[in-house]
Structures are given as C-alpha cells and as structure tokens.
C-alpha cells in the first residue's frame, strides 16, 4: 500500500505532499521524504554508484527502512517525485507504471496557466488524479 507521495522542487522545496494512512504518522512520513532527498542528490551526483540507471528518470529504490520502501524519480526539469510504500514485495514494473502516470498528472497540473512555477500545487484535479493512481497501484503490472 502506498502511504505517502511527494513532489519536491529543484531547490528541495516541497510542492506537494500527501499521505494515505489513517495512522497518525504524517510527521514520520514527511521525515522519510525529507531524508530521501539527500539520497537522490547523492545518487545523481555520483553517477558511478547508480550504474545502469544513469540519467534515467526512474531512480529505483532509494532506501528501505524497517517498515517502508522509498522510491524516487527525477524529471528533466529537476523535479523529484517520492513514493513511500509499506509493501515489501513490490514489482519494479508497478513502480515504473506508477511514476509514469504520476508524471503525466504532474505535467498537466503545471500546464494550468494559473500555476506559478515553484509554488505548491493546489489543483483539485491533480489531487484527484493522484488519489486514483495511488488506488490503482499494483493492479496494472501487465503493461
């Protein structure tokens, strides 16, 4: 189950963060997202370590914690997407599909003429699309 998704701008400014859990652990999830940013920076700045994923937008598993797995994605425009899930057995294809749909939703949200680059994404349509993508996570691995 996906418990948290986030969009972070190129100066590590949060643009969108949403948790999907009843438990009162928003703070903890925000902390995990925050920590993952350093991992992304390190991955991207030390390309040798990341090996075959060089320059691919999908950054793969950033780090596993005891209860979560954290995945990352970095667009050409230096925007980071973070995904935190509680599933311990996640298919790579599912995560890739998730990020592809998420990226499309993000691109449409910032295409709104009233969206100001670098400012938080407040679009209702975006929030709804994200919720749907999160719900369908793991059900479309055929693609």
């Amino acid at each position: 189950m996906i418990v948290c998704v986030a969009v972070v701008g190129h100066q590590n400014n949060p643009l969108y963060i949403q948790s999907f859990t009843d438990a009162d652990d928003a703070l903890k999830l925000h902390h995990i997202v925050h920590c993952s940013l350093d991992v992304i920076d390190e991955k991207v700045n030390n390309p040798k370590k990341s090996g075959p994923t060089l320059n691919e937008t999908f950054l793969g598993l950033l780090y596993p914690t005891e209860n979560y797995k954290v995945y990352g994605y970095l667009t050409n425009t230096k925007v980071k997407f973070i995904l935190v899930t509680t599933d311990l057995d996640v298919k790579d294809a599912d995560v890739r599909n998730y990020f592809r749909s998420f990226h499309a939703a993000y691109v449409d949200a910032v295409s709104n003429p009233f969206h100001v680059p670098g400012k938080k994404i407040t679009s209702k349509t975006f929030a709804e699309r994200v919720t749907n993508i999160v719900k369908s996570f793991g059900f479309s691995s055929a693609a």
Binding site: N55, E56, T57, V107
Partner: protein, 174 residues
C-alpha cells in the same frame, strides 16, 4: 497523436497578441510591449519543456539540452528541425532556422500602418520591421523558458538580418 487545432488558430492568436501589446497597450513604449510578449513566450516554453521531456532520460550537459531544443522541441512546434547550430564553446549558441514558420506564415497586416505606406514608404518599412521583431520576442521567450526549466538560465535574442531565415542567439549565464 494528441489533439490538434488548425494552424491558423495559432497564427491568429499570435498576431492579435502582438498587435494588442504593441498597438493598443504600449504603442509608445515598445520595450514594455517586448517584455510582455517575451514573458508570455517564457511561460509557454516553460510548460512545453515539461511536456516534451516527459519520456526521455535526463540531459548530461548544456549541449544535449540545446540539441533537444533544436530537434525534438522544434519539430513539435514547427514540424522541422533547426537547420544549423553553431557554438563558440563558451556558452553562446546560435540556432538558425532557414525558413522560420511563424515569419513566413505571418503577414504583418498592412492596414495597421496604412497611412504610412502611402505617404512615407520608408516609415512603413520601419514599422513592418519593428512588428516583425516584436513577433520574435515570443519564440525567444519560448526558448528561454524551455532552457530555464531544464536548469539552464540564459538570455535569448533573435537575428532577422537574413529573412526568411532567422537565428536565435542563446547566451548561457555562467
């Protein structure tokens, strides 16, 4: 293939936007009109670069990003690539389009300087040249917006000394 509209929609809206800013809002302040037109282009370029880089790996360096503008990005907009790319290897790039579509399709409306063309052909010619250069602030803004969003702050100007060819000069800010 996504949604399409007739190209004349784009031509019409650009012509009207330029004329609104140059002839109605800032008739006596061309530099202000230019800044507004460039800003409109900037927003469009910023958003388009987000869309058109969606399915591709990240660029390694400035040259790769510039090449993307010359090839894929230009093709999406104009159904052709930039014809010639030059660089001084110190942050300046010159992108030449031998037949820039927006100039060849856009007829600068003679009625707008009708009185001039009869009495004073030279003034009319100047006016036409001025309107052409005003139109070019829009694509300059697009290029600057696209590159900025790809992490490359720059200044972009247009050189139209060889019409219908048009060169866009990109100076990357160190």
């Amino acid at each position: 293939m996504g949604r399409e509209v007739a190209e004349s929609c784009v031509d019409s809206i650009l012509t009207e936007m330029v004329s609104t800013y140059c002839n109605r809002f800032y008739a006596n302040k061309p530099e202000l009109a230019a800044r507004r037109i460039e800003a409109i282009g900037y927003q469009v370029g910023h958003q388009l670069s987000e869309r058109y880089t969606m399915e591709r790996p990240r660029f390694n360096d400035h040259l790769e990003a510039i090449k993307f503008i010359c090839k894929d990005f230009w093709s999406e907009l104009f159904k052709k690539q930039i014809d010639n790319l030059k660089t001084n290897h110190r942050g300046t790039f010159v992108l030449q389009d031998n037949k820039f579509r927006w100039l060849s399709r856009m007829s600068i409306d003679p009625s707008e300087n009708g009185d001039l063309s009869q009495d004073n052909p030279e003034a009319a010619e100047n006016k036409a040249a001025q309107m052409t250069s005003m139109h070019l602030y829009f694509p300059c803004g697009i290029i600057r917006g696209a590159l900025s969003n790809l992490g490359i702050p720059c200044a972009v100007s247009a050189d139209m000394s060889n019409l219908p060819a048009c060169s866009f000069v990109v100076r990357i800010k160190a």
